[in-house]
């Protein structure tokens, strides 16, 4: 851009030099000739020709150096359009932005790589694992003043080296005003604030790993963190502060806890989400919110557990609090998950949560987080998988350090210690868990 800036200034500089040359050459001629005027018309014409040649040479030299059009073709109209283009080029500080007619499209790419050591080893690998994280392509388009589209595609690599392409989000939204929007498509569910804030944007996420509560469905998570459906919401600003509200109707849980149901719903009953959050006027740095989720989990036609022979009624209540005061950041969530097995009439109640505290000091941000998961053992939905571990308790305390690298990248080092239940030889044993993780995450 500096080159373009220099280039943009060059015609003016060329003009100045040309003018200076025009002004200086007659003076130089006069100096050469003393006070004697030119002797004839031929001499004057020759002087003019020399002058023109000199101006041409100067313009050529400047043009070669800066690749700019000559002042003759750099008219006012062209200059205006050039400046418009130049202005737009300057906007690339926050991702790659393009304008097409009435639409503006903003592209962002998130990526991460890392290495982990886990003891005991995690199901998909050995104790120590180098891992490609994900590459996340997000395109966010604003068309006109009220319509917005978003597409998020993620490439991730399995432990077998296969690369999967997953369309994580795809939605269209009409915003009537700040108080009301309608969104249709696949979106990160608002059941968890962490999930809504970060998801696959690992660079945005302070820590290396997600809390136990907000892990993805395929990574042993216990919340439905994706949904496909219709969401309505908005926000109002009143004397008491800012109130956000939302509600959604979506496909809901699949047969197994790993299912995302983006392509369809295995049962007629839809998942209902409602929630709110408030930033009180007396302490605007604080955000507190809560959400409720109601769903009917479909029966498993291939059930081995009789409690999966009929559907399970699910109720989830979550609450979160965020506080950012200067460099201090406190973030916590709690969730209660209730499952009523219609086949047996039994109720299974589980709860989970985390509390994270961070303090930003320049480019460094040390942080710590306590995570826990207190699960109802034998929950027919959470234990119905190839590796039944979602219904087991765990806790961990992590200590981490994040370092910003320039404006678009960060590395994070994290150490965690805790305990977790594991099914070993048909019985449940409590094990001490140790994890060490390093991650390099970036965003373009």
């Amino acid at each position: 851009m500096r080159t373009q800036d220099a280039g943009r200034q060059t015609p003016a500089a060329a003009r100045s030099l040309a003018v200076a040359a025009v002004l200086s050459v007659p003076g130089a001629l006069l100096a050469q000739n003393g006070s004697t005027p030119p002797q004839s018309l031929e001499q004057l014409q020759e002087s003019n020709r020399a002058l023109e040649r000199r101006v041409e040479l100067l313009e050529q030299a400047l043009g070669d150096r800066h690749h700019t059009p000559s002042p003759a073709v750099f008219d006012a109209t062209l200059q205006d359009s050039f400046e418009e283009e130049q202005f737009w080029d300057e906007d690339d500080d926050f991702g790659l932005n393009f304008r097409y007619g009435d639409a503006v499209v903003s592209f962002q790419i998130f990526g991460d790589v890392g290495v982990e050591y886990n003891n005991p080893e995690i199901p998909r690998g050995d104790n120590s694992t180098f891992a490609l994280g994900t590459v996340d392509f997000t395109a966010n388009a604003q068309i006109g003043e009220h319509f917005r589209l978003l597409s998020e595609t993620v490439l991730n690599t399995t432990s077998a080296g296969m690369t999967n392409t997953v369309q994580m989000r795809l939605w269209g939204m009409w915003e009537f005003n700040d108080q009301l929007y309608i969104k249709l498509g696949t979106e990160h569910s608002r059941v968890s604030r962490w999930n809504q804030l970060f998801h696959h944007g690992r660079y945005l996420e302070l820590s290396v790993r997600r809390p136990l509560l907000t892990r993805f469905e395929a990574d042993g998570g216990i919340l439905p963190v994706h949904h496909t459906g219709l969401e309505v919401g908005g926000a109002v600003h009143k004397d008491f502060g800012r109130l956000e509200y939302w509600g959604a109707v979506s496909n809901g849980r699949g047969i197994l806890a790993t299912d995302r149901n983006t392509g369809g719903d295995p049962n007629e009953s839809k998942k209902i989400d409602v929630g709110f959050a408030i930033y009180p006027a007396c302490l605007p740095e604080l955000r507190v919110g809560s959400s409720l989720t109601f769903d009917e989990i479909p029966r498993n036609p291939n059930f081995t557990n009789p409690e999966r022979s009929r559907s399970i009624r699910e109720f989830i209540a979550t609450t979160h609090a965020e506080l950012q005061v200067d460099a201090l950041e406190i973030f916590g969530e709690l969730a209660w998950i209730g499952h009523d097995a219609r086949a047996s009439g039994r109720n299974y109640d589980s709860h989970s949560g985390f509390l994270q505290v961070a303090y930003e000091t320049g480019d460094w941000t040390p942080y710590t987080r306590f995570d826990y998961r207190d699960m109802a053992e034998g929950d027919p939905f959470f234990s119905d998988s190839v590796i039944p571990s979602r219904d087991l308790d765990a806790w961990q305390q992590i200590f981490g350090l994040r370092r910003e690298i320039g404006q678009n990248a960060a590395f994070k080092v994290e150490f965690g210690v805790g305990e977790g239940d594991a099914r070993i030889g048909g019985r449940i044993d409590e094990q001490t868990t140790i994890a060490l993780a390093f991650q390099l995450a970036w965003s373009l």
Binding site: S106, Q108, N177, L204, E360
Partner: protein
Amino acid sequence: MAWVGAIPLTALLLAAVVEAPQDKKPKPKPVALAIVVNLKNPTTNLSLSDLRAYFKHDRTFWPSGRRVQLYLRKTGSPEMKILLDEVYEMSAARLRRYLRGKNFRGEVTGGKAYSIAPSTEKAVARVRATEGAVTVVLASEVPEGVRVLSIDGKRPGEEGYPLVAAPKEEGKSAR
């Protein structure tokens, strides 16, 4: 009894400290930040909390119904320093992550809802050309053809106007 003589000496020293002439250097004039919008924007006054909501994109529409287009300034510019201290109340790095997060979640579209204006002239040119645009310029550099908003009923330069560069104090560093 030598300590008796120390009493008046101590008193003299104390008086010298108390009576020491204060630094007579003239205080630098405070630098105020003006919030400027398009002349067609009917908004003339915002509360500081509303201003924060607009600049943090918690509010994305003006009362007139037009979408807010924010033209921020380069990191390190005096305009951005005041904006970070008095409006965003966060560091430049955190603001960057904050806006990237908003963009990632689809709450706003980068390049449309917010972008960087490389100079006062270009920021003002954008505001003149776009009804929903808003930017910040130093109050001493406000040009013709734009409207300067009052904040909490105060104009830049008036007593109590909140967007003023805090005078540098010992031990307090800018964000």
